[in-house]
Symmetry: C2
Subunit: 480 residues, 2 copies
């Protein structure tokens, strides 16, 4: 197609088609910056306003997005032909949690290199190693080994806590060094948070679907889950939360700050404020899990709840496991008024976290290499999601609904009601392919017809074949 042919009624439309073609052919991919307006104008002998017109059209179609002072970028999520999953309608009654057995086997499969890793949400080792943290650990062990073979103070390494506070401030979350305690990953932070504000038998409000590890924590602490309807685009159903709080006593509400696993959705700042106002009115503490917050595909890191209401009763939890070092087991918690109980529980669990890995991570963060690593990682994840979305689009039956995550690195697929993703799982494992079946994402097993695909590993022929196989198996099960 020519920009000047007689059959092109408007030049900007023709240009938009050309740019779309670059996307379809893979020249432009999710997360990449589109060619600058000046350059396109020069290359195609067009006016700046025509090119801008074309880019605005692509923005309207959800293909490009403008970022302040930075130009236009390809939106993540790739193929837009699929519907997104319907808002969840979980069981309303508090539910005892029993997901343990299903979950442990996923971790076993994740450790096996012969299995295609679409199961656990673990970034590929190569993506993470690019950060270079191991070099800092090697040096810390050589230089600081003697001094750091100690029990740290209960809150953990003060330098690491200072680095964490410095980073939190960028997303508007003001934290003091003594307001942070280091944990063995985000799971331990969530476990400590729940122990600080609940007792056995209490009910906790959560999103549905939600991360299965969180369900396992609830199970271990013998807490009941109250699952709230959650939309793959807009997040938690705030009205449902309001009705729940008015009707039932829940002792805590546990929500993703951003990019709920598995839906990849985020609430708006106003939505978050509305949630906080509701919780405050009912005196219910919020535990927020911000583990995916740094993996955003938009222009800015979304704000955690804690940044929107500094005085509110919020326990903030996060970790470096999704962006840098799952194997180091380093997370943190900012429990505000609950610090004393958190520290007592941490001591009783394992006294403190390992000292040298904390020292190494503090040095690494201070060295300034983390931001560049995060930028590369975000691009990789956006591209992986894009590729896998397109492959799903090609290979899966037409009824399949797919999320369009704005961050993180998982896709959530919804099949027609009655589909049994556990049967698909058994067939897939027999072919050396792991994914996460939907039943482990809900205490009430509301999502057995869904499944989660991890996009943590770079696209390759093995993953391509696996998506194709999964699509064919799904079609077989749906046809049967």
């Amino acid at each position: 197609m020519s920009l000047n042919g007689a059959d092109a009624p408007y030049r900007y439309e023709a240009l938009a088609e050309i740019v779309s073609g670059l996307l379809d052919s893979g020249v432009l991919r999710a997360g990449m910056r589109a060619p600058s307006i000046r350059r396109i104008a020069a290359d195609h002998s067009l006016s700046i306003s025509t090119v801008l017109h074309a880019y605005r059209l692509l923005e309207d179609r959800g293909i490009l997005e403008a970022r302040p002072k930075s130009g236009f970028y390809v939106v993540a999520g790739g193929a837009k032909s699929r519907d997104t999953p319907k808002p969840s309608k979980p069981r309303r009654a508090p539910t005892d949690v029993t997901v343990s057995r299903g979950v442990l086997s996923l971790l076993d499969y994740a450790a096996r290199p012969d299995i295609v890793p679409l199961g656990c949400a673990i970034p590929s080792a190569d993506l993470l190693a690019a950060g270079g943290l191991d070099r800092f650990l090697a040096r810390a062990a050589r230089v600081k080994g003697r001094a750091y073979n100690i029990y740290t103070e209960p809150r953990g390494d003060p330098q690491l806590r200072a680095e964490i506070c410095r980073r939190a401030l960028r997303s508007g979350h003001a934290l003091g060094v003594d307001g942070v305690a280091i944990t063995n990953g985000c799971t331990e932070a969530l476990s400590l948070a729940l122990r600080a504000v609940t007792k056995r038998g209490d009910s906790v409000a959560i999103e549905s679907p939600t991360y299965f590890g969180l369900l396992q924590v609830l199970e271990a602490l013998e807490l009941k889950a109250v699952e709230l309807p959650t939309d793959a685009g807009t997040g938690l159903d705030i009205g449902a939360l309001a009705r729940l709080l008015a009707a039932k006593p829940v002792k805590a509400c546990l929500l993703s700050s951003s990019f709920n696993n598995p839906l990849g959705c985020s609430m708006s700042d106003d939505g978050k404020r509305a949630v906080l106002a509701l919780l405050q009115r009912h005196g219910v503490p919020l535990i927020e899990d911000d583990i995916y917050g740094d993996i955003y595909f938009g222009a800015e890191r979304p704000k955690p709840f804690s940044a929107l209401a500094p005085g509110a009763d919020i326990i903030y939890c996060s970790s470096f496991s999704k962006t840098l070092a799952p194997g180091y087991r380093i997370g943190w918690i900012a429990p505000q008024r609950h610090m004393q109980r958190v520290l007592e529980a941490k001591f009783a669990m394992n006294i403190c976290s390992a000292a040298l890995p904390q020292a190494a991570l503090a040095e690494f963060l201070a060295s300034g290499g983390y931001d560049g690593h995060l930028r590369r990682l975000r691009r990789s994840f956006a591209e992986n999601i894009d590729r896998i979305s397109r492959a799903v689009d090609k290979s899966f039956p037409a009824e399949t609904r797919v999320t369009r995550p704005a961050g993180g690195f998982v896709l959530w697929l919804e099949m027609p009601d009655g589909f049994d993703s556990r049967r698909l799982f058994d067939l897939a494992i027999a072919r050396g392919i792991c994914f996460a079946p939907g039943d482990v994402f809900s205490a009430s097993k509301s999502h057995a017809h869904c499944l989660r695909l991890s996009c943590g590993h770079p696209w390759d022929a093995r993953i391509e074949d696996s998506i194709h196989t999964l699509g064919a198996l799904t079609a077989g099960l749906l046809g049967a």
Copy 2:
């Protein structure tokens, strides 16, 4: 004194005096090998049988001990002029545990280099660094960083578990690689063990006095402690355990395998067998804490309970925190029939332990350097105990009773009833000296008149002065 003078009725007695003199002057110290019989005989122109006679006399007096095929060694414990503490008589009723606040501050003081470290039972960094583990971590980070930045399988690194099994076998404890799970230190192992066999509100039988960290675990899990009378020489009062089991339902019994912290006592193998038979009759699981088992001053490592009754319902817990690497936070649990529950709870706590430190420790153990390190460590601890015992003997009031530990590296001092070691603690801290006051070693606060001194740091003038100061402060409080 000459060996041939007319005032020496028997040559062997004179020789015994000379050897005692070497001890008093510090030439020979606790844990050291005495000069060989042949060499003494040659040096002093005495017959072998005369020297042997002298050594047997010193053995009778509890100064030397014979070790099979190895000669005579100076017994640890030093000054023998003090009485040992009386058998404890704790409160009989189950007690809610509330020691947290007292315990956390001890750890804070342990992290301060300006405070004399007689508080927490932490070996000095120099003693530990001599093991050389940090070099293995530096290499593991360089060579294996990429491959080990993962969640390990839930049980932990298989090579490390294999090394642990190999070592366990030496003390008669047969363990399979899949029977062991790696934890973040012994505290986490104990916490997992208790979670596997108890529910909130249950009662657990423990020694009295006992390690305050264990009390903190009971507190965090909302378990009640039933404290059993324990003797500083022979350990647990088995009759009291029998009466308890006949009268009250306890859901578990948690005992030190050897060298109870703080008493340093061990039960005989027969005593352990009697305990196991009692527990089995009442269907009560034993949780055994063997963290001090490798720090023995006698000829052989004492056997853990698990080695004496392979089929019994025992959960074995230990770690490397007292002998090699407190800062690495690596312990292990062998929970037998309770493995599935332990793994589920471990996952819910923190998914798994950090991977690289495990890999480094596995390499270190395989390298064969650990045994030599343990031998040096045992000698150091025996010598520290010896020195501090002698200093206590000199500086503390005559009423002070002191333990003669057969292993580990703490001393337990008992003052007359009514003495308040918390008052002594406040005075000591003001002078920059930390120790562990007795009240944190008992749920029923039965030991407020006692205190524990850590002997984990090599003897120096600062420690000498501190013991002297503590003795004078104690005398002041007793006289007041």
